[in-house]
Symmetry: C2
Subunit: 355 residues, 2 copies
């Protein structure tokens, strides 16, 4: 086995000492990179890009060629799992995701299978193995999945939604049915993440993009509960190291305490939370990842450095912080601005890690 040459990410996620704060970027392999757009054009469609391991591997590695990032993240989509459950995922050009067979009634839920990751999502596992080979120990590879609540939102709405009328109608009108949907989805996600770990993912992240549209009580019952179950079922050791688990609920800043109690290793923070306050609330239990406003990258270089400095100072001295944006990078961002941020994180964080 090739030893990992840069393990800042894994160490920071476990709150072990590091020489500088590690950084990776949500959607770091994405449309803001011209080389990504070129590969995407060659692939023909977004789904083809996800489903062709060579191309998924290629775009996963692209941002690492440009920037000294401390992690790679598998290029894929959270909706591959419902696709493997038979919902028929597609992406229309310039639009969001769409399911040909959304989940609308008890019968739809009952017939949902738990996908076998190696059989039904083999293209993802193949991409994971290929990326690990290509990385050759440069940085660790992060695997990921959508939270059951977030996946169910798309599965029931049939795509992206503004008002969430259908999923909320189910929540308020047929909560037992929604729980059955979340249950089967959670089993699918657990198997999927464990398969990613077996294939070589060295950390995993659960993206709960829509947990923040719930009431505090419903968040506990319909989102966090299933994430907690998944965390408990994950294979947390692989290749002789701990595989850290990161939970991220966008808009979930009010619920960090209960998120930290799931047994996860780290929490993702969006930009509406002050990282110092977040650390005061939960910093003894978990590491924190985030939380620069993705829009800060529209600023001039000097202002980007200042914003990076503010986040780093907010977390303060010691390990347990993984720098990231508070949400995915926008397609319009100039890659040169990204370089300013990445360099600023490494340079300005070093003093916080002196013994």
């Amino acid at each position: 086995m090739i030893p990992l040459r840069n393990d800042r990410l894994l160490r920071a996620l476990l709150r072990q000492p590091v020489d500088a704060t590690p950084i990776w970027i949500m959607r770091q392999a994405g449309r803001y990179l011209p080389e990504y757009r070129a590969t995407r054009a060659r692939a023909g469609s977004f789904m083809k890009l996800c489903q062709t391991p060579e191309l998924a591997c290629e775009v996963t590695l692209q941002p690492l060629e440009r920037f000294p990032l401390d992690a790679a993240i598998l290029f894929s989509d959270i909706l591959t799992v419902p696709d493997a459950m038979g919902l028929g995922l597609s992406f229309a050009e310039g639009e969001g995701p769409r399911f040909a067979h959304p989940v609308r009634c008890a019968n739809d839920v009952e017939k949902l299978p738990v996908p076998d990751p190696e059989q039904d999502l083999g293209y993802v596992m193949e991409a994971v193995r290929m990326i690990r080979r290509e990385l050759a120990g440069r940085v660790p590879l992060i695997g990921f999945a959508g939270s059951p609540w977030t996946l169910a939102t798309y599965m029931v709405e049939g795509g992206a939604s503004k008002e969430y009328a259908r999923i909320k109608g189910l929540l308020y009108g047929q909560p037992a049915l929604l729980h059955r949907l979340l249950e089967v989805t959670a089993r699918g996600v657990t198997a999927y993440l464990n398969a990613q770990i077996a294939a070589g993912a060295q950390a995993v992240m659960l993206f709960d993009t829509w947990g923040g549209i719930l009431t505090p009580q419903d968040y506990q019952e319909f989102s966090l509960r299933y994430m907690r179950n998944i965390v408990a079922e994950l294979q947390r050791e692989s290749e002789g190291r701990t595989v850290p688990v990161i939970l991220f609920t966008k808009g979930g800043g009010a619920w960090l305490e209960t998120m930290a109690e799931t047994g996860c290793d780290a929490l993702g923070l969006d930009w509406t939370v002050n990282i110092r306050e977040a650390k005061n609330r939960v910093g003894r239990q978990v590491a924190l990842q985030g939380n620069l406003d993705p829009c800060a990258l529209y600023a001039p270089a000097s202002r980007i450095r200042q914003e990076v400095a503010t986040v780093l100072a907010g977390f303060g001295p010691g390990s347990g912080h993984v720098f990231n944006l508070g949400h995915g990078i926008h397609p319009q961002i100039d890659p040169e601005q990204v370089r300013v941020m990445v360099d600023a994180v490494h340079e300005l964080s070093a003093p916080y890690h002196d013994e």
Copy 2:
């Protein structure tokens, strides 16, 4: 002057004793009502509906004919103010608002006038006077405006936005210019609300729909600061009564304490906040308005009553609560579900107001 026969709203907003918890509904005059859709069709366009006092008056009163609501709210749009500043507002069928002349540079900001409410927004003032006459003291009339930050968001983006790239670009790249825009907009909003009060509005509400996309620090600097200035400049006495002021930042649940310190009388709560915790945090300073999930109205009647009961029990005994949804009612909601909610609020809240 005709005396006010139902003053529950005004009393609750000032935390004075009431016999039952008052209720009104954000967007209560709206597309979920067939009679609204009929008037809207007669008007020809949404702008015409806003700009014709007779029609604005008609739709304002429609929900009161159906339900025993405790307040009317002026039918209008928050974007009438930027329209009066020369931005050229229109609404394409089935789409959001659009400005013909968005604000994009220093020159655009410098030439923005502060509209004279009676001259440039006379149709709104005329609607307020007409509604007051037609209400004839049944319930109080609430006036409203958008917060400067929220208005600036539309003014700079040119319409609704998903990523807020332009306004955030301004915030991070040219903060002084953004402050000038917010300053002139705040002066316009102040004059507009004071004119509504002079014309007969008996309470006013500031809608900060997009304050929740800001970092905690930027929320203070770019949104709350201007709302605080407006609150300080409002004419708080009219017709021998206090005119209560309500602040509502959607997604601002983390910032209630600082919102309460602006000198406003009440805070609107969306559904992501627990109202009991909100009351514990700020209930001695302000009244609270909200906070049922608008999606709860998709539920069967029994579940709606249960959800109403939960919110009422959350606030607990005593005055200082105005029942409302946590955001505008969805167009798909069946009016009969609204009746269930309104009746449940009055019926189930009475025990909380016994001496």
